[in-house]
């Protein structure tokens, strides 16, 4: 084995073992055939192609998919993320409300997630809507009511899935569920420990990942759309809080500017992801 062959074989190790078993030998042959005989270092354009190809295979994003399928997977993932946010938020604030009602809301969120995983979107929508109503009643106050926006937003995202077949998402997309989990944990701990830094850290997690997701759209645009859709709840919650705190944005345009800045990232995520989805749908 030549030095070049060994180096290309190293880059091919980025692909999963099963893929390498099926394609590795012929890919290595093509890489060697297309290299000048005196070359000892891999060409950058080949390395770039191998990195991107391997990432797509590992992310389960290497096949062709329709625009509709990309959107359905994104809606499903975003709804799951919002159910985690809502359930987590209720858990952290349980001591401030009726414990019984809070437990029922959390149970409804968990059941709704199970329904989503099983492709029972109608049941998931009903459970989420029920959790929202119960949560709103238990919280008994419009200001706090504004922090339970993940649930109605999850209902809005689930409705387009109702009546369609179950969509399956690659395992890598399920890793996205860690985002709300980390975010809610940080925010919840911040609320209980009276540590504002942790509360803002939760939002920073979302924002940082939303920026990273724009770059990740070259690998899997569904991640980008999902994060953008789920992150919308922060925008809606802020709008509702501002509305209540200031009375129909009476202090004027600053609140609107803040809101516009906050909305930029999720809107950008959705726009970039949607554009890439159209491109990826072409054979």
């Amino acid at each position: 084995m030549t030095e070049l062959e060994r180096r290309y074989a190293g880059w091919l190790r980025l692909y999963p073992k099963a893929y390498r078993r099926a394609r590795g030998a012929e890919m290595l042959a093509v890489l060697m055939d297309s290299s000048p005989p005196d070359r000892s270092r891999p060409q950058w354009r080949e390395v770039r192609g191998l990195i991107l190809g391997a990432l797509r295979v590992r992310a389960g994003a290497h096949g062709r998919r329709t625009v509709g399928h990309s959107w359905r997977v994104s809606l499903r993932t975003a709804a799951l993320m919002l159910l985690i946010v809502a359930g987590g938020d209720v858990l952290w604030q349980m001591t401030r409300h009726s414990v019984g009602a809070s437990l029922v809301v959390v149970a409804a969120c968990v059941l709704a997630m199970v329904a989503v995983f099983r492709g029972a979107y109608l049941a998931a929508t009903v459970l989420t809507a029920g959790a929202f109503v119960l949560d709103a009643v238990a919280r008994q106050g419009i200001y706090e009511f504004s922090s339970s926006w993940p649930l109605p937003l999850a209902v809005v995202l689930l409705i387009p899935l109702v009546g369609r077949g179950a969509v399956t998402a690659p395992r890598s997309l399920h890793l996205m569920l860690l985002v709300p989990l980390v975010s809610v944990t940080l925010q919840g701990y911040g609320t209980i420990a009276q540590e504002p830094a942790f509360q803002t850290a939760g939002r920073t997690v979302w924002q940082t990942l939303a920026v990273a997701a724009i770059i990740w759209s070259i690998v899997d645009e569904r991640v980008t759309i999902s994060l953008g859709l789920a992150f919308l709840y922060v925008v809606v919650s802020s709008a509702a809080s501002d509305l209540v705190a200031m009375g129909a944005w009476s202090t004027g345009s600053w609140a609107l500017i803040d809101l516009a800045v906050l909305a930029t990232l999720p809107v950008l995520n959705i726009a970039v992801g949607a554009t890439v989805a159209v491109f990826r749908a072409r054979i």
């Binding site: 394609r23 030998a25 012929e26 890919m27 290595l28 042959a29 093509v30 890489l31 060697m32 055939d33 297309s34 354009r45 080949e46 770039r48 192609g49 191998l50 990195i51 991107l52 190809g53 391997a54 797509r56 290497h62 096949g63 062709r64 072409r282 054979i283």
Partner: protein, 111 residues
């Protein structure tokens, strides 16, 4: 259809080819416009195989290197032809422009 995909299918019109030959032929047919990297070629072959446009036929070992051959399926050939016809129709909008042009107006003052 993406341009690299079009030229990969076009490369397979006449006979089954292995990966490197597809790459070379696609480059020739596109007059150098399509320069496929290996990762890109196999991502495209994955998509085309998934769609049933291309199938692998046989494998052989040449100079100790594995070669798998791919051929166009009837569905692939139909998709390629349909794309070519759409592009030809789009090209005719420009190349046959004189057929649609209004008759030249007489210059002012000559009537």
């Amino acid at each position: 259809m993406r341009e690299p995909t079009y030229f990969i299918l076009a490369a397979l019109q006449d006979e089954p080819l292995h990966g490197y030959a597809i790459m070379t032929r696609a480059g020739e047919l596109s007059r150098g416009r399509v320069r496929l990297a290996t990762g890109t070629l196999y991502a495209a072959l994955d998509r085309l195989t998934g769609e049933g446009y291309v199938v692998s036929t046989h494998e052989e070992i040449v100079n100790g290197r594995a070669r798998r051959y791919y051929r166009l399926t009837p569905d692939g050939a139909a998709a390629l032809r349909s794309e070519a016809e759409a592009m030809a129709a789009a090209a005719r909008v420009v190349t046959d422009r004189t057929a649609f042009s209004p008759a030249p107006r007489p210059a002012a003052g000559l009537a």
